[in-house]
Symmetry: D2
Subunit: 199 residues, 4 copies
């Protein structure tokens, strides 16, 4: 009986590293995995890039209108016919960007197709509101596991505060991939409230 | 530095027992707690009733329009003036019925007023959709801890399937307190899918 | 595939309550459980007594020389012949007092007889040294889960400090059941170090 | 208030990767850490080497007779005088090889010197018996967190079975670093029992 896992953590908590390590653990035991991520994440295009310097190409990108279960099973069948090997695990990076329906399909892959699904992602956006994918994962994942990191003050970071040109901002679109102007800093609630002047 | 905890579990996993035990643990160490629950839950009216047979009156009911932080601080101040004792913990039962704003206020009680808040509740309704309070708790609680129970098949139960006159139903209002006709059975995703004919 | 769980917590963290709730959860779903504890614990004799006021007689006591797996299977077979029902779970209270061998036998019950074993107990004695049963559980249980309680200072309690006539003592036998003169106070490491003058 | 964490997992579960990621997380926030490991581990000499390919030199090796707290404070003081920066975290790899006393000293670093200590290691040897360091960590760490990996059968691996020239062996010294002849395979209890002919 396989499960759907949501391994969540603030930005820069090491989620991609953990995903690549999990893939490595399977492969070291001669088991096969598939890696995927939502196409909306343009940071590494088709690559999962860990801040420790490890990177790897995904096996497929998930577009917003795709049925994840259908697509997974198509690619797994292809893999089986080409290599003679079944898939032992589906690993999803940036899972907060999945649609709610795709998370339901991920649960079906685990429960009905009996393949474990490890979904890595953040819980909330820069305003502390969930993304469609993370909200649905928080509702229906079998197991919620936190990857921890620290705030500038030494407490556990939870929120993903957005900075533009180095200044904290509290309005804007939900999705703004970090790059030239935009950056994120993971903060604990205390420091987040301090920056937002909530007291 | 206090935290907001969401201790979630399927129906009949022992959440009220765990809450009453936590209250007991504080009081045995001569510390004072406050117990509250949303007024929407009419099951025990002003009582938290554990299926093990233990029960206790709440200190206050939370109405949907109330500011939880203001109300908590009012009652804590009253308690202090009457007994000379500060409050060491706020315990919330049926926390899924809080409003989203009240969960933000609960986080502020923990972070800004430095009082731990232990919120107990279910993650999802009979259609596997979150309640306003549980969704916000899943987004912003410092710590997500699961209270486990079992499905009829022996696996871990996660979903709260509704029965009317003993038959599983998959449409209706989100809130229907269990009573004469309505009952709930906690199921694992496999058994839930089976009853809902998803395959 | 069943598992051996070690649910550990400082004294007075609610372990017996949690055990009785777990038993109740199984029975509410018409499943049968067995409750047992080591005979060395004379506090409640054949009774598991929760500080919330709930109590229940154990199905069997475990003496130090007994083979737990043999004894469990004997009683489960008896139960089956008398009631027609299989056992769905074995619950062990005060599991720190099991012998190391009995913990190995508990793992075999889970793995080879496919019955989940829930063992509840404390990690360490009043000098912070493990008991034979808890050490072995910490080594080989599938899952280590903590039941939390608080120290007098508000931090999480971990250690079980012994008092005689109200004064902390730091020498004596490993086992001294709390009663007339002897009592225990669960402390965090900071308060424990303070009482033991470690700095 | 800082804590002692024991992050345990079977061999090849990614402990060194997780340690290097944790160090990276601190440093990315301009905080300073120290990395250390027991001198007994000769695998990488003074290097922590992750199977993902990331590696890093430790700041100091811990010999069996050393007082870990004294040594840590000496090096932290040196670091402060040379760089003007305090140490925010002590990271310990292969922590199962610490002595019992050194684990007590690690707890004192966390509690009395207020610096978090993250200890990574395995729980048990190839015969499922604890090492001195891991047993003491299981007794007194504030937090026990598992890093999971899988068995050849797809279940969670827990035990570290030893192979010599590819054959499982069940007698020998507790410590035999993997190398030319000796290797280890992480197994679930079911597969371990199968190889050891326990049924």
């Amino acid at each position: 009986m396989s499960k759907l896992y949501f391994r969540h953590g603030a930005m820069n908590s090491g989620k991609s590293t953990a995903l690549l390590q999990a893939a490595h653990n399977y492969e070291e035991r001669n088991q096969h995995v598939l890696l995927a991520k939502p196409a909306i994440d343009t940071k590494g295009e088709e690559t999962i890039l860990s801040r420790l310097g490890v990177s790897r190409k995904v096996d497929f990108l998930i577009t917003p209108t795709q049925n994840l279960r259908t697509e997974y099973n198509r690619i797994a069948a292809q893999h089986l016919s080409q290599t003679g090997s079944k898939i032992s695990c589906l690993l999803l990076d940036e899972a907060q960007f999945l649609t709610s329906e795709q998370v339901d399909q991920a649960l079906q892959i685990a429960v009905l197709d009996d393949v474990p699904v490890l979904a890595y992602g953040i819980r909330t956006d820069f305003l502390t509101n969930g993304f469609p994918g993370s909200l649905r994962l928080l509702e229906i994942a079998h197991s919620l596991e936190e990857l921890k990191t620290i705030c500038r003050c030494g407490r556990k970071a939870m929120f993903n505060a957005r900075k533009i040109d180095g200044h904290f901002v509290f309005d804007g679109d939900q999705v703004a991939i970090d790059g030239l102007d935009v950056s994120y800093e993971s903060l604990c609630p205390n420091c987040y409230f301090e920056e937002k002047h909530i007291h």
